[in-house]
Structures are given as structure tokens and as C-alpha cells.
Subunit: 266 residues, 2 copies
């Protein structure tokens, strides 16, 4: 099933897709729906529904770096024994079609990623419990300000710029998608393919990441975990290549959808 | 003025101290008071008021590492050109007197710190604007799980354990305290002094940190910034020394107060 937060004339709503239309689920957005623990019972169709940022204010957005072999190689690091984790804030998130707004003069890079949405509270969860706790999958781009990321040993300040992380357009429930079997993760810049990875090569799969994180901090319905980016980032190109004002970033996972976001220097 | 969130028979309240009693400020806690933008007009005294975690759910808790010369030296690093920042979640926070609860077998270390509480929305703030935006100062201990912190290049997973970061007991407003002129930051373990620094040796002062952070993410009333720890952490001792079940950690900043928290292995 495809779930989304949609905008329509009267506001926003959590919605499920049936054929080509979006049907209301009795909550103002997917965060509220997941927090309520209610079942997904599609109601009336919503006229003029357009998917927006699916999870408007997740409390936790945890990101895993260095999780694809080809990306680990291009950064010159060894394969890690544990997930490399960092946090970003809900303020970083933007929806499908929204602009990636950054000041001019920064090294703005792309990182297409599969994102996992948490469906139930996870504390010290086993991998199997974590797998059961996945509400679904969506697409993210962990747009990174490389010069700030590399100023200090901690990446956070290059990863937490407001309004830079596209997420969406929809959340696909687990029975329709199996990242362990393999789904493609693609990034195009101005139509040119820059990344094309497959989640079957993830060092730490989705359930393993959720289980690991839940060892130290509780994950709640609507929290989001970004699973890392495959090879092909701009920083690793020769010469290093960054996003410019007006560049169009397309982030695609077949089976979920495509995020199209334009870089705007402010 | 000293501000706190206090617990009393009927619940919790934001309160201001007048002489030896706590007076209500018309909000359920300091987070709500700061978010409302209301002036502090102390009302009736509250019977049996006891300070608890002053900011129950800050949206952002940003931490600066490597910000005192003696601590930078003990970690073997050079003085940084930019603040080293990482995030922790509100779930990490505990109040005065609460236990630091961690599983047995981890390398649990202390990090006494001055914490700054944001009083107004800061976006791209100059240092002067940031200084005007400080609601006050409180005490924190950035208890760190060193083995997890050192598993990967990113410290986050050693810093974000739920219920490990004491904060409080009160928030002191800026006219009573000047960290640039110098205030002491002290940590004792089982009565033995382990850290004793002074904020006048901070590489990046409070207003500089808030201004810097506000370049990439908005800070809102009630958000908290931890300013780093002075030398004397357990990891740097010879041999390295960590906290054990039942150890009592006292974190003191004269002019604000003392946090007393006991380590409990769960």
C-alpha cells in the first residue's frame, strides 16, 4: 500500500492510494496516523490531493553513513564494524517539489538514500522485532554541505541545514518492497545519472539499523532512519563537483517514486 | 533571577525564586513559558516546590565538543578553527536527583558542562543578537558512553543514550552570570573532584556558539546548547576510569547550583 500526507483545498490529510486516487485515513498527516496506532482503513477519496512531506515533524531523524561498499571505497575508508550514525532535525526536511534552499558559495552535494519509517515503539528491539516495527519505506536525499561537514571531525553541521533534505513522495508498506532482496537507489542531477546503487549491498540492513539504534534511544512511530548513500557523490568526483543555483536533483527509488527538488541559493 | 520547572502536589509549574520560595509564572514548565514569550511576573508562592528537569522536551539539544584547551590537549587534538558540534535528543535528559540509567558493562564517563538556554528565535543571528537571545544558563553533564562513542568516526551513538544527561537544577538569567568573565565548572565522582574548569577559557563562547549554529538551523525558545567540558574526563585518566553502578556524580557551577545523580546499571 502507498501512504502519503496529501495537501488538498481544506488542508492536509493522511491518505492511502487506491488505483489513481488518494483516500482519507482519518488523520491530518502520516505522523499523526502512525502515532495514533490506528489501522489504515481508507475512507472517501480526496479531490485534488497532492503528496507533500509525508512526516511533517519526526522527533528523531537518524542517519547512517558509510553503509554501501562503493561509497565506503570512494571515501577511502574501511568497511565499518558498526553503523556510523548521526542525527538531523525535522527542520531539515522538505517535501517533493520543494526547493533546497542554501546560501550561495557552499559545497552542496547529493546523497540519494532509502529511508525507513518507524511504525511502533522500539526499545532494545531485536532485529526481528525491529523488522515488525517498520511502517514503510520512502525516498530521501541527505543533501550535505561538504565544506561545513569537513570543518570538524563531526559531520552534523554539514548535515543539519534547514530545508535541505527532501523526503517522500510516498511511504510504501513493507509487503510491497523488500530492501534486503534489493531495490535501486538513483540520483540524477539535471537529468544526468550520478548515483545508482542497490539496497541488497547495504552493510547494515534496515531492521539491523533500527534494532541497533533502539539499544540506546527509543524509536517511536513516525521517526525516520536514513540508511546511507551509494557511491557517486559529487565530493568523490574528479574534480569534486557540487550543486549550483537552479540545479535539479531527482532522487528515485523504483517502487516508491521520485523526488524532484531544485537548488535555490538564497 | 533563578527560574525552574518545579514539581508540587498538583503537578509542575514554571517558577521564579524569591528569597527561599518558588513563585508561579503562569505556565506548566519553563519550555512552555519560554515558548509563550511571556514576561516573568512572579505570582503566588508554591508550597512544597522542588526543581525538576527545567526544560522537559527541548526540540534541539546541540552540543559543542573540544571547547576547553585542557580537554582538547587531553584528547590529543589541535585547537579547532570551528566549533565541533553534535546533537542529542530530549530523551537523553534527566533532572536533578534522577538516576543515570545504563546497561552494565559500558564505559560510562563524565563531562561537566555549562548549558545555555535559548530565549528567542535565532536565525542567522549575529553574535550580538545571539547574546540578546540567551534566556539563561544551567548545568549539564554530557555523560558519554565511550566505547560506543569510539566505535565509529561519529560520536552521536555514545552521546544519545536515553536518560543519561542531567540538566538543571535551575536556569539563571544572564544579568546574574557572565561566562565570558568566567564561571567555574566542576565535576565530582563519589565526592572526589575530577574536573574543575572555568568558562573564561572557552574557545567558543556562548553567544558565538548560538550565532554559529543559527547559521544552519533555527534555534527556538527552550532549545539548549551544551558548551563543552573542561579537562579531567575519565577516558583521559591513566588508567582510563569509568563510572560504576552506584557511583554518585555531582556537577556544580557556583552561581547556578549542583546536580547530584547516581549511576544505576539496569
Amino acid at each position: 500500500m502507498q501512504l502519503a500526507t496529501v495537501r488538498f483545498a481544506a488542508g492536509t490529510a493522511a491518505a492511502a492510494r487506491i488505483d489513481d486516487s488518494w483516500h482519507e485515513l482519518g488523520a491530518p498527516d502520516l505522523s499523526a496516523l502512525l502515532a495514533s496506532g490506528a489501522d489504515c482503513r481508507p475512507g472517501a477519496p480526496i479531490d485534488g490531493a497532492v503528496p507533500v512531506l509525508p512526516l511533517p515533524r519526526p522527533e528523531k531523524v537518524v542517519c547512517c553513513g558509510l553503509n554501501y561498499g562503493d561509497h565506503i571505497s570512494e571515501t577511502g575508508r574501511a568497511e565499518p564494524s558498526h553503523p556510523t550514525l548521526f542525527a538531523k532535525y525535522a527542520d531539515t526536511l522538505i517535501g517533493p517539489g520543494s526547493d533546497i534552499t542554501v546560501p550561495a558559495g557552499l559545497q552542496v552535494d547529493w546523497e540519494a538514500e532509502l529511508a525507513v519509517v518507524v511504525g511502533r515503539e522500539l526499545r532494545n528491539a531485536t532485529v526481528l522485532e525491529a523488522e515488525d516495527g517498520i511502517a514503510g519505506y520512502t525516498v530521501a536525499n541527505d543533501i550535505s554541505i561538504r565544506d561545513w561537514q569537513c570543518r570538524t571531525p563531526q559531520w552534523f553541521q554539514g548535515k543539519a541545514w534547514d530545508a535541505t533534505t527532501p523526503l517522500g513522495p510516498v511511504v510504501v508498506t513493507p509487503e510491497e518492497l523488500d530492501p534486503v532482496a534489493g531495490i535501486e537507489v538513483i540520483c540524477r542531477v539535471n537529468g544526468l545519472e550520478r548515483q545508482h546503487g542497490n539496497t541488497k549491498t547495504l552493510v547494515f540492513d534496515c531492521a539491523t539499523l533500527l534494532s541497533y539504534i533502539s539499544t540506546f534511544t527509543v524509536l517511536r512511530p513516525g521517526d525516520v532512519v536514513l540508511t546511507g548513500t551509494p557511491g557517486g557523490v559529487g565530493m568523490a568526483m574528479d574534480p569534486p563537483t557540487y550543486l549550483d543555483d537552479g540545479d535539479v536533483v531527482e532522487t528515485e527509488i523504483p517502487g516508491i517514486g521520485t523526488l524532484t527538488n531544485t537548488v535555490r541559493f538564497r
